[in-house]
């Protein structure tokens, strides 16, 4: 098995220390930092997404795998500069909307998007529309991904879209929404560009919208 294959397996199994060792070993053996994404991290997280969709993996397994992937991206990031720099697939501003503190789903989506090659600006939880607008401007983002877990807070997604409109940014960014009470119809009714019913769906949609 190649190092990339072994690394894929370590990420899928959520073995962060093994993944870290393999990444360092691969770099020492001369593997190019830029090859890790297409050859190990992206396929590994795609497999994690598949297992999640098929109910084989649940939140803990997905989080553990995503953390293993993150240990690898943390090693690679400082190396991906200058000539080795990899252009991110897109820049995503993400957060849980105002009034809501649930961040597990948002974190999973953020980590999976990161593993899929996006640059993530994670604003955390209880995020006001103003903060999102500001971050979109500051980081020149092309995607906004927001989450709400309460029926009483998901109305704030609409407030974010209104704020993006008011700031003249709505045409510049695609808006992606998700969270337990959110539905496709709701997403349409507030004028979002897409609804991710789970993290893998959100990643697929983000790829599509960023293309």
């Amino acid at each position: 098995m190649s190092i990339f294959q072994e690394l894929q397996q370590a990420i899928i199994d959520g073995k962060a220390p093994v993944a870290k060792d393999l990444a360092q070993k691969g770099l020492k053996e001369g593997l190019k930092p830029g090859d890790f994404f297409p050859q190990a991290i992206i396929p590994a997280m795609d497999e994690v997404g598949r297992r999640m969709r098929e109910c084989e993996y649940f939140i803990p397994e997905v989080l553990i795998a995503a953390r293993a992937a993150r240990t690898v991206t943390d090693i690679l990031r400082p190396l991906l500069t200058g000539a080795d720099a990899v252009k991110p697939v897109g820049v995503v501003v993400c957060g849980t909307v105002k009034g809501d503190l649930h961040d597990i789903g948002k974190n999973i989506v953020a980590m999976m998007l990161e593993s899929a090659g996006f640059r993530i600006v994670d604003l955390g939880v209880d995020v006001s529309p103003e903060k999102i607008v500001q971050a979109v401007q500051e980081h020149n983002a092309n995607l906004v991904a927001m989450s709400a877990l309460l029926t009483t807070t998901m109305v704030n997604m609409k407030a974010v879209i209104d704020a993006l409109n008011a700031a003249g940014l709505r045409q510049k960014v695609k808006v992606l929404v998700g969270g337990a009470p959110v539905t496709d119809n709701w997403a349409k009714s507030i004028g979002a560009d897409g609804y991710g019913k789970d993290a893998p769906a959100a990643v697929a949609l983000a790829r599509q919208l960023a293309a």
Binding site: C55, E56, Y57, F58, I59, P60, E61, L63, K98, G99, D100, L101, H102, D103, I104, D126, L150, T151, T152, T153
Partner: protein, 515 residues
């Protein structure tokens, strides 16, 4: 012949009129009767017994009910059309809504009192003789607000939208008023002797009953607008009781934790304990109190509706036809069903048992997934446990277990320091403690876990003897219980995820026969 007929429901005591010949399904639904098969005459869940009047036997009745049942007056409500005035007994009210018959210490007082446990799902009220402490009558019902949402958050959502709050307030005030009239009638009591009515409930029920804006409870930081004790005259609530007694709703503790937990804490005497003890109410909102004589902490944790059978593929409340227990012996599964009917679904206690059994039998992996690519497990004919059901239970149990863990951390104690854990509420009364331990919901030795019944109602009754004018035990106790907002604890999410898995199987004792 008039064109309308009058229907009376027992044991609810409710009366309504319908057009002669109109189907009974809709009006019965309004009164909380559930139609498990959707009113298609395919189950017996909605059956009613005719106590007065007559209901013709339909072909569906003849098919589904035995001749003895038909002779005893049982009919399927979903197929029935009333041709004359009727008094009906509802089979679903075999559902034991927990009342309270436990003895308690009191200083005798004059007159009568009424204690009400206003739950999100169920309501229980008792008329009490304050001279003897005896319960003279009991009334229970499903909360009439439930058709606008099963759990507190959906109730909040309905309340903050448009004029919802006023509607919910009026519904519950009217319903409790009817229950009080029922209590008086059942005991043939002299209503002018009623001196006091005490209500307890979570913060959302408190706000809805008292008419306090719910908006602050719809978002972080979930701080109730007004959490204090509220007092009314009965007449202000639209209740006509001679003497116009005082009606008090006991104070909330913070966040969603209300006076039902305050009352439970008093009833289970947590504040008098030398040792570290805990009170846990397992519901859509799990509530937890831990502490002792010196210090008490409380919290609520959103467990979701799995324990009540909602969002479970074949889930149902603990009513007729529900699998309430699942056990295994030598690898064989057996189910206990509520009521004398064939199994129709799985209620919370059955779900916990089923997953515990699945773990023991090696059908379910500690991560929660079915082993060997299985997608569901048929527990009984037509009742299966699915992969998604297990996931829902994992979320619910992780929320409770994480809440307990964080409160213990805040207290500076470990699980082993807890000498007793009281389980409040109906679900706590029926859950199998070994199964709760097996799935990691209550990771405490079963001898330490004690079902404590309806502690909220007991605490409300105690208040009937300790309130008027004086602060009684309540204000002092409420002041001693510190509310810990779990959502704002960044550590909570990590612990929550950490608690989602199930404990690994215990090693099989040497010589144990597992064939």
């Amino acid at each position: 012949m008039t064109s309308r007929v009058r229907i009376q429901l027992q044991p609810l005591g409710a009366t309504f009129e319908v057009e002669r010949g109109a189907p009974l399904q809709d009006p019965l639904f309004v009164h909380g009767v559930e139609f498990p098969c959707g009113g298609k005459g395919r189950c017996k869940g909605c059956r009613v017994r005719v106590l007065e009047g007559t209901l013709p036997v339909t072909p569906e009745d003849a098919k589904m009910l035995r001749s003895e049942e038909l002779a005893a007056g049982w009919r399927l409500a979903c197929q029935s059309r009333a041709q004359a005035d009727l008094t009906l007994e509802l089979a679903q009210w075999e559902v034991p809504i927990l009342a309270d018959e436990s003895a308690f210490e009191f200083v005798p007082r004059e007159g009568l009192g009424i204690a009400v446990d206003l739950g999100t799902t169920t309501l229980v009220a008792q008329l009490v003789d304050r001279a003897t402490g005896h319960v003279l009558s009991v009334r229970s019902a499903l909360n009439a607000q439930a058709r606008y949402g099963a759990d507190v958050m959906s109730r909040v959502e309905f309340a903050v939208a448009g004029n919802g709050q006023r509607r919910l307030e009026q519904l519950v005030r009217k319903q409790i008023g009817r229950m009080i009239a029922g209590l008086i009638a059942a005991a043939q009591a002299d209503a002018s002797r009623i001196r006091e009515v005490v209500l307890v409930g979570n913060s959302v029920m408190h706000h809805l009953f008292c008419g306090i804006a719910l908006e602050p409870l719809s978002h972080y930081p979930f701080v109730p607008a007004e959490a204090g004790l509220r007092a009314f005259r009965a007449s202000e609530l639209g209740w006509s009781i001679p003497g116009d007694p005082t009606v008090r709703f006991l104070p909330c503790l913070g966040g969603f934790v209300g006076s039902d937990i305050l009352a439970g804490t008093l009833a289970a005497k947590l504040g008098e304990s030398e040792e570290l003890v805990a009170l846990v109410d397992l519901g859509t909102n799990g509530e937890i109190v831990i502490g002792n004589r010196r210090r008490l902490l409380c919290a609520s944790t959103a467990a979701g509706p799995a324990f009540e059978g909602a969002r479970i593929s074949m889930g149902m409340r603990a009513s007729t036809g529900a699998i309430t227990e699942v056990s295994t012996e030598l690898g064989r599964v057996s189910c206990r069903v509520f009521g004398n009917v064939s199994p129709r679904g799985l209620c919370g206690s059955g779900l916990v048992d089923a997953v515990a059994a699945g773990l023991d039998l090696g059908l379910i992996h500690p991560t929660g997934r079915f082993n060997h690519g299985r997608q569901e497990w048929l527990l009984a004919p037509h009742v299966a446990l699915t992969q998604n059901d297990i996931r829902e239970l994992q979320l619910a149990k992780a929320a409770i277990a994480a809440g307990i863990r964080i409160l213990l951390e805040r207290w500076g104690a470990s699980k082993a320091d807890v000498t007793r854990l009281y389980l409040a509420g109906a679900f706590g009364n029926y859950i199998n403690r070994s199964s709760a331990l097996r799935i990691g919901l209550l990771d405490f030795p079963i001898e330490k876990v004690q079902p404590a019944g309806n502690t909220a109602l007991l605490g409300a009754k105690i208040a009937l003897f300790s309130l008027d004018g004086q602060e009684g035990s309540y204000a002092a106790l409420a002041g001693r219980i510190q509310h810990v907002p779990l959502g704002a604890d960044s550590h909570f999410q990590d612990v929550f995820v950490d608690e989602m898995g199930f404990p690994a199987p215990q090693p099989v004792p040497i010589g144990g026969n597992q064939s």
